[in-house]
């Protein structure tokens, strides 16, 4: 073994290493981008679920917005009060006021009230069932009951009840929009929890044909329109439609004469397993 060759290669590699090491050290100093250290600090305080419920693409983007003063800690829909205060304390900003929003299901037609015209025995996802004759459910607008939303929810806020309808737990719901996107029937919608007047139906059919398919269908009879404050509710496309711009005038009385119970006054959790009212009739 030639000692000279050994030394030469060690020397060459060593010099190259030193040179590039120096280059890296230099560029690290010269090209350094300063980042507010509070961003990392804030990220550590946030839940880290990246749910997007705040409207920003993930927790880090929300932290950047917080530090930049473009958002308030309460904008995070996934933190409890104490965590919000902790973030506000860390950044020395006001916690802000959050309007709690939750996912609401616009269907109350569980297996106990909505007729099933055919049995669907294929792949057990709503999206797949939708591709085959709407999964056999008589109402082609209603919940297919195969739990795509339950699987999409990262917070365990959705649980299917015994009638095959997803019940959203308002405390756990962060309004992240995942269920809204997962539902092939577009039945979920995010709304402030204090909007209590909800039409839990999307069937465009009116009158008896609607009720023939589901006992809880909106038959577009118009009684709620008369019982509610002027212009709060209108009948459009076979449905009672609430004008949420006027939600302040809403009162539970609007639901009193609904023959099917399609329009509901919802306090907190949606009750989706009630029994149909005996002797309900369509006017």
């Amino acid at each position: 073994m030639d000692l000279g060759a050994l030394l030469l290669s060690a020397l060459t590699l060593g010099t190259l290493g030193l040179f590039f090491g120096g280059l890296i050290a230099l560029s690290h100093k010269r090209l350094h981008v300063w980042e507010d250290p509070r961003i990392d600090g804030t990220v550590n305080l946030l839940p880290g679920t990246n749910c997007g419920g705040c409207g920003f693409p993930g927790c880090r983007a929300f932290a950047e917005a917080l530090v930049g003063g473009k958002a308030q800690p309460a904008g995070c829909t996934n933190m409890g009060k104490e965590q919000v205060l902790a973030v506000a304390g860390y950044l020395g900003v006001e916690a802000g006021e959050a309007r709690k929003r939750v996912a609401r299901l616009l269907c109350a037609g569980g297996t106990h009230v909505a007729i099933q015209q055919a049995r669907y025995r294929g792949l057990a996802t709503c999206a797949a069932a939708k591709a085959v004759a709407s999964g056999g459910k008589g109402c082609s607008w209603g919940c297919l009951g195969l739990a795509d939303c339950e699987r999409a929810c990262s917070f365990g806020a959705i649980r299917m009840n015994r009638f095959g309808l997803p019940v959203v737990e308002p405390d756990k719901c962060t309004a992240c929009n995942d269920c809204v996107e997962a539902c092939p029937q577009d039945l979920f919608t995010l709304m402030p929890i204090d909007w209590k007047l909800i039409v839990q139906c999307k069937s465009a059919l009116e009158g008896e044909p609607a009720e023939a398919l589901c006992k809880f269908a909106c038959t577009a009879c118009g009684k709620c329109v008369l019982d509610a404050a002027p212009e709060l509710i209108a009948i459009r496309g076979g449905l009672a439609v609430v004008d949420y711009g006027r939600i302040g005038t809403a009162a539970p009385g609007a639901t009193a004469r609904c023959p099917t119970g399609a329009i509901a006054w919802v306090e907190g959790r949606q009750v989706l397993d009630r029994e149909p009212v005996a002797g309900s009739v369509v006017a």
């Binding site: 792949l123 999206a127 797949a128 709407s134 082609s140 999409a152 309004a175 929009n177 996107e181 092939p184």
Partner: protein, 447 residues
Amino acid sequence: MRALLRFRHGVHPPERKERTAALETRRMPYPPEVVLPLRQHAGKPAIPLVKAGDRVERGDKIAAADGYVSVPIHASATGTVAAVGLWPHPDGSYDQAIRIAVEPWSAQAARPRLVPEWRGLSPREIVAAVQEAGVVGLGGAAFPTHVKLSPPKDKRIEALVVNGCECEPYLTTDHRTMADFPDRVLLGVRLMMKCLGVPKALFGIERNKPDAIEAIRRALPGDIDVEVLPLTVKYPQGAEKMLIQALTGREVPSGKLPLDVGVVVQNVASVATIAEVFETGLPLVERIVTVSGNGVRKPANLIVPVGTKLRDLLDACGGLSDDASEIVSGGPMMGVSQRDLETPVSKGTTGILVLTEAEAQRNRTYPCIRCGHCLDACPVFLNPQLLGSLALKARYGEMEPLHLRDCMLCGCCSYVCPSHIPLSQIFAAAKTAIRKAKTTEPAKAPA
């Protein structure tokens, strides 16, 4: 052009055509009510021209075309409009439809010609008359025929390809059209060649229909160049791109149309319909439907008024057997299961199959074993195994670079899968989800 008379990949499902292949087409009696959906064709739905209470005669225009890629709809029976409103649609939803209470005693009254005589018309006038007659592709997709007959000026069309494959099991409507009305089919070919200005027509028929091949060959007129080519029996030989490959040796590139390789493909039933509307002077108000499957008592090839409800159609075929378990609109490979007997037959309905439990073959789904059978079956050379696992994880974004768009939902992958994974259904759902995501983007806005 060199005919290979076959394509690569594909599957050989049992044909099951024997119950109806030899039955001559016959007319069914008029049902008490017909329901005509406004959306019976690819493109924009038609706009209704009638209201409840109006009296309409068979052939009257009751809904107008909305734009170029759309066709009008005509009353398929004489009667009174009962309502215009929501009704079960063959795709499983509810959609706008015109319901006509039929007067049975006057339903077939003769009336003056509504479609002009074709002799003496220029190609452009023929195409306009075809749209006005409500003609769409009767092979299932119901794409307006007049659009296909007026290719853009910059595309050079060399030949008309007539699709007489009917590769779907059970279905025999195209077979009977060719065997029973060969002269009408060839008049249609003549008209289409005139519209397109092409010198040649290639007529592809699968070898399992020797009587149809014979009938067409015998009726061939001497003055137009029509070449009848018997093709290898394989599914999906009737798919546009497979057929072009078999007849011309040309491959339609991904994302391109048959126009780009110089051909226009027309289904044989559409070809016959064009001839029929010009012969009879009546717009498209009826079509041939195969009613088959072991769940139906008297299988038949019926001439059915468009808008006939499945209930009336099945009654005309002796009703359902006791072990009937599933009703499918279309063929067993690509058809859609139906849930409501009130659903009407539309212009695109090729057949109604009533399957028994044994025929429907519902098997338990097992996990994918990565055997690769689906790759060998896919006629457009996709990787259904990979696409399927991505779709089940809702990773739709990664499916598009793998050419999900080329998937025509032919069902070959589902058919060969030893784990019985319903791949093509998964792809149908994925396609819908991708379309939805594109239309609702950006979904998230700061609260």
